[in-house]
Structure formats: structure tokens, C-alpha cells
Symmetry: C2
Subunit: 134 residues, 2 copies
DNA sequence: TTCTCTGCAAACGCTTTGCACGGAT
DNA sequence: ATCCGTGCAAAGCGTTTGCAGAGAA
């Protein structure tokens, strides 16, 4: 049942302790954590963990296509393990990121005006349910 | 024909020299410049221009809804004066940003799962026509 | 006077880079 | 011995903040 380790091996990445734990954490989350959030969550598990390792690791994972980085503002990046399929909703009040089922076409155009499209990212911004009610 | 000045006045912003020139530049561009690009383009026109003023100004314009900021990577923001209507294509090779006519629905859903949607941003990533051919 | 706008300088936050240590092969 | 992975420390880069001076009202 060690999913993270298996994924790493399938992608030709040697499954070090840090890599397994970081990937496992990202697989568990649906909240698209930032590097800082990954760090805060795992520093207790591995007290010697450094941010450099997190940056090294997510860069490696991105390159291999295991995770995807999302730029929501101009500052920090967020990471997710389920590329495609869904869009992101960002609450401009509380900062929460929520997955939305992509309402329209699942398979998007692969070419437009001669440009080769490899990736599509949809971000909605507004006020989330909790902030509207609360 | 001073469009920039008129837009500022319509939005209750006093049209200082710097504000007019920055807005005029943004209106002329279809390339979604970053703060740095605005600075480099206008420093010749106003040698005393500072980046702080550019940041102050684009923040003010954003707040008033005159321009829109686009987060493409995790680092810098880009600015555009034509909100809505189109999607953005980012070439991962040369970094160019190209407008695409939004192929699907023009008027998107305003609510989803109880979340109030105010803004939609679509980013395609891939290789642009020039990079494919060159 | 007071209020607004500008811009230098410093601080800030996220990320990358340089380098050295330790472990595996 | 070499190679790889980790992590401290410093640098880098885009942006924000503090503050003071100039100018308008």
C-alpha cells in the first residue's frame, strides 16, 4: 500500500525518506499546499527537514510530471498531485483553494492558431461558500 | 483623444503625469507587461520614474478595475487592460504571452457549489507557433 | 495649512544557488 | 574512489513598506 514509493520507482526516482514523505503528503492533501505548508506539516516528522529539500523535491516531481505547480498570485507556488480534470476556485477573502469539477469540455483543444497546447489551467476567483454565509 | 486621462477621470483618479503615462503604455500593449517591463519602457520618457510609483499605480488601477493582474509563474505579475473575453497562452520556451479568443462560453457561470464567482482566468501553456517553426 | 503624490532606501517573502557533509555503490 | 541526496547559509528577485520631500488645494 505504499503508493508514494511505488510512484517514485515507476518514474525512475530513488525513493529516499524525504521524497517518499513529501509525495505521500501531497497525495493526501486536496488543499494544494505551498512549499511552506509542506514544510510546516512535515518538520515534526523529520526534524532535520530543510526547505531546500522541499524545493529540490517538488522541482524534480514537476519535471517528471508527478505533480503540477499552480501560480495563483504573484508570490508563492502551490502544488497538487491530480493534474487536469478540475479547475481551481480561489477565495479572495480567506485564501482557500477549492477544486471545482470542470463544467465544460473535458478534452480541450490541442492546437490553436498554430500554437501547441500542452496544458490548461482554469482559475476562478470570488467568495467561497463559507465566507458568504459566515 | 487622450484616452488614458479620460479613463482616469472617469474612475475618480487624479491624472498625474506618471499615472497617465503608465496607463497609456498599458493600453497600447497587447503583450501583458510586467512591472519591470513598464519601468524599462517608461524610464526614458520620465527619467525620475521609480518602481515604487509603478507598483503604487498598478495597485490603484487594479483596485479600480481598470487593469487586471495575471499570475503566470510564481514570481512576477503581469498586467493587462482588457479584462475578460480572452484567454492567455504562455509559451514555455520563449516566455511570450499571447491572447487567445476564448473558444467556449463567453458568459460563464456566476455561482458554483455555493461559491460566488467574480472572475475567471484561463491559461494555456505550450509551445508557440514561432518556437515550433523556428 | 493639510492632503496627495512621488520616489529613495530598506525590509520582506518566496525561491534558487553555492557548497560541504554523509551515505550508498 | 565516485556519485547522489540532503541541508545550512547566502544570494537573488519581485514586491511592499517607511518615510520624507515636493507640489497642489
Amino acid at each position: 500500500m505504499n503508493n508514494a514509493k511505488r510512484i517514485l520507482e515507476e518514474n525512475g526516482i530513488s525513493p529516499s525518506l524525504q521524497r517518499v514523505i513529501i509525495l505521500r503528503y501531497l497525495l493526501e492533501q486536496s488543499s494544494h499546499p505551498s512549499a511552506e505548508q509542506v514544510y510546516q506539516a512535515l518538520i515534526q516528522e523529520i526534524p532535520t527537514l530543510s526547505k531546500t529539500t522541499i524545493y529540490n523535491t517538488v522541482k524534480l516531481f514537476s519535471k517528471k510530471g508527478i505533480i503540477r505547480q499552480i501560480a495563483l498570485y504573484g508570490n508563492e507556488l502551490h502544488y497538487e498531485t491530480q493534474p487536469g480534470i478540475h479547475a481551481h476556485f480561489l477565495c479572495t477573502k480567506c485564501g482557500k483553494i477549492i477544486d471545482l469539477i470542470q463544467p465544460e469540455e473535458e478534452s480541450f483543444v490541442k492546437e490553436c492558431n498554430g500554437h501547441l497546447i500542452k496544458e490548461k489551467e482554469v482559475i476562478y476567483k470570488g467568495i467561497c461558500k463559507d465566507c458568504r454565509e459566515g
